[in-house]
């Protein structure tokens, strides 16, 4: 745990250097992901911005014009969107903690820096996980009753909401989360028309596809639980429902999809994307697609936005990506001893309150040269 913190510290260092770097060099595209980064604590109290004289949405950077409109229409949804983006970013960082590219963020509104401008697998993943985060947190907010607009979709019913509800109840809120996320996230992609064969069109199609993959990862992967409540509690009447998986499970699933992402290119007419290698399976709506190969993440590069792995901590004896061999790209590593002060012999409760003692121990830390 302490190791992680150390890692984070080094990460912070990297971020700081990169920010500096960024200011000097590029102006990366702003995205709605920034909602997950900024201090959005004020957003939790909906009254604050409804009563506020200033229209908050126009002041938010990172939103496209269409998204700003949606933001104004659904102001109470924005805290959940922001939480979703945050969830996505954190999950991305967890899933890639041992990779050369570790999903580190920069302190501007592009969130992940210029690296996501390259249409690589990593960009696909960021799009998917952020979209998944929004579906997840909107559905969650609906189920908590925090959002009053959540839909009551059911066919075959009488007209009028109250009568509908009494007649056949309401559908689940995950569907609403999916629909809202689709509207909000895809809004920025659908705003412009791009000519055939253009770079912009291919990127737009890729983003749309990956956003959908992310949303489906939440919506289509659920666990089913059932309750028997027939005569005497027997199973003559059984009711089943679906509940969302934890976001960690969704992250794991998307990571698998990242590993199996499909390389795509334009079709002959330049209107749709198709797989480059026809030997592979056709990507489904749940699969991720990408256009370009990933840049070299070993060395820092101004053009690609890669930060390199210098200073990243690594595992000495591991053969995996987290091993010093792969992580440091063969440059070797430094080892230093540090004394860790950590909590130990903890007495946990199910929430919050933990009684711990502090222990000290000396560990070896390896960082890439």
């Amino acid at each position: 745990m302490y190791l992680n913190m150390d890692k984070q510290e080094t990460m912070v260092n990297i971020i700081i250097t990169v920010i500096f770097y960024n200011i000097l060099t590029t102006n990366a595209i702003e995205t709605w992901w920034s909602l997950g980064m900024n201090g959005f604590e004020a957003w939790r109290n909906p009254q604050l911005f409804i009563l506020g004289a200033q229209p908050v949405c126009t002041h938010l950077r990172g939103l496209s014009p269409g998204q700003t409109k949606l933001c104004q229409l659904y102001q109470d949804h924005m805290p959940a969107v922001s939480r979703g983006a945050k969830l996505g970013i954190h999950e991305c960082q967890y899933q890639f903690r041992n990779r050369r590219w570790n999903c580190s963020t920069v302190d501007d509104d592009s969130v992940f820096g210029p690296i996501t401008e390259i249409a690589s697998r990593e960009a696909s993943f960021t799009h998917s996980i952020a979209a998944a985060g929004v579906v997840f947190s909107i559905a969650r907010a609906c189920r908590e009753g925090e959002l009053s607009n959540c839909g009551c979709s059911r066919k075959l019913r009488p007209k009028g909401l109250d009568r509908d509800y009494i007649w056949g109840g309401c559908g689940d809120n995950a569907e609403y989360g999916y629909r809202f996320a689709k509207g909000f996230i895809d809004a920025r992609e659908n705003e412009k028309n791009h000519p055939r064969h253009s770079r912009e069109l291919s990127r737009m199609l890729m983003n749309l596809h990956n956003n959908e993959a992310g949303r489906r990862a939440v919506y289509k992967h659920t666990k089913v639980a059932c309750k028997c409540h027939g005569v005497s509690g027997s199973c003559s009447l059984k009711t089943c429902w679906q509940s969302l998986l934890s976001f960690r499970e969704i992250g794991n699933f998307l990571k698998e999809k990242y590993d199996g992402a499909t390389d795509v290119k334009f079709n002959r007419r330049g209107t749709k994307l198709e797989r480059k290698n026809p030997m592979y399976n056709k990507p489904t709506k749940e699969d991720m697609i990408y256009l370009d190969p990933s840049p070299d993440y070993c060395e820092p590069n101004k053009l690609t936005g890669s930060r390199g792995t210098i200073g990243r901590s690594c595992e000495k004896n591991s053969d995996g990506m987290e091993g010093c061999n792969l992580m440091c790209c063969g440059r070797g590593y430094n080892t230093h001893k540090i004394t860790l002060t950590e909590r130990c012999h903890c007495k946990f409760h199910w929430c919050c309150y933990v009684k711990c003692r502090t222990c000290k121990r000396v560990v070896d830390i390896h960082t890439c040269k």
Binding site: G145, S148, W167, D172, Y219, K227, S243, S246, H349
Partner: protein
Amino acid sequence: MGGVILENLSNRKLIGLGVLLGLLLLTFFLVGGLVAPTPSNVSNVLGTICKEKSRTKSAAWYKKTWYTPRGPGKCESANTLDELGPDVHNNQVVFAFMIPLPRDGHNLQMSSWFQHITSVLDINIEYQEGNEIKENAMVSLELKLGGRNKDTEPWTLIAAAEEIRTLDCSIEQSLKTHGQQYNCSVLPLFELGSCHYSFYLLNLRLPTFDYDEITEEHVEGKNTGIGKVVDIWTVFINQNGGFTKVWFSMKTLMFPTVLMVLCWFWRRIMMLERKPNLLEKALLCLGIALTQLNLPIEWFTLWFDFPFMLLLSDIRQGVFYSFLMCFWIIFSGEHMMDQVERSRLVQYWKHLSAVLFGCICLFVFEMCERGVQLTNPFYSIWSTDAGSKLALGFVVLAGIAACTYFIFLCYMIFKVFRNIGAKKNSLPQMSAIRRKYYMGLIYRFKFLMLSTLICAAMTVIFFIISQVSESQWKWGEENSLEYTSAFLCGVYGMWNLYVIALLVLYAPSHKYVSAADEDDSLDEQIEFTQIASESSALASFARKAAAD
């Protein structure tokens, strides 16, 4: 006497009747499948994490305070438990659930059409090193359920209880890293036999200590070793109003129909010179049992709060099915065609006591579960070790009784078929009248066997279909046919039609022996009339058959 109507019905009429019943049955299925929505509605509600400011509040104090997740008087809430920080004690955290959830910007209301609410608890527990779930970990829940009809009203306490449930969680070895969630099965929470308020509020607390206000002492020891709780979900299941409406309409329609047929049947029997025999009495009882099941007293629940209705409808169903089982035994026995004198209920004491014993076991079980739930809806007999053993004991006993019953029944049916086989061989040697009556007897029995088998098979098939369709259901898929509703309505309609058909077809016929039988010898006819005038015609035939 000319036997029962079934025997005197021409094939054309019988087929016509069969087609009519088939069509009616199809109507029942279609009404269930197309008109009615799914029987139950599920709302999955995430507990709002409310924070109680004071740390030193006793359980008694908690009982008096309501924590509402939204609207006026909203509690001080946090998005996640981690947000609360390390200073907040477990006893200060209250999970609040309020139903119904708002939809489309509108505050919905519960309705008495929902009939009953069942609820289960889904606790999400995260893996945390050093804080794993212990084996057979128990959660101790301080629960409180309130209801109100208007936003402005104070909450009325429906029930409060402290309950213990055993956690049943697992996690794969490879997934044992921070942030992974355990796979826990849901826990039963409460069952409410009525839905009479517009809003329901559930407050739940997982205290780790009891605070004694007088001695100001903390007594720890509860809710330890249950892991790191992340979220608590409650799933509320209620009957859909649309389904209730369809169900009530069917009952209201079937009640007078069956009652009329029953009256007609009994009037026919009363018109006979002889006294009613056992089979006819059994049919009458079956009709009465069905009538009490059909009696639509549920209409009252729309105006009055009757939490016992769930229990009552279980009992009413139990009564009907036990009478049906008894009827099958008596029917097979009366068609045995051997020399044993039957026609009296005492003859069947072994078989019927199996039914009775099974029913008593189930009744005791029912009273232990749903009976106790009348006073404490949070009660579940399965939550304690002794209780679940007791419950299991009763269910196993009932199962044994059911098995015994089916062995008896199968044995009797087997014997009947054996006797039929023997009779068929000797049929050509018999005189025309006797042959006709034996054939009638065999025909009657086979007809009932066939129709019963068809009904039972259809019940089983539709049960399986509805169960499969229920567990394979996915979001965003709209079923054009509601299988579960179709199953419930269809099965209900089927047994109604079954009983009606029995009452009609097995009522005594008024047709007299036809002219074709005039060729038979005089003494045969005399002999026959003598026998027929006896109270138990069937058994006498059987005796005669044995003499043959």
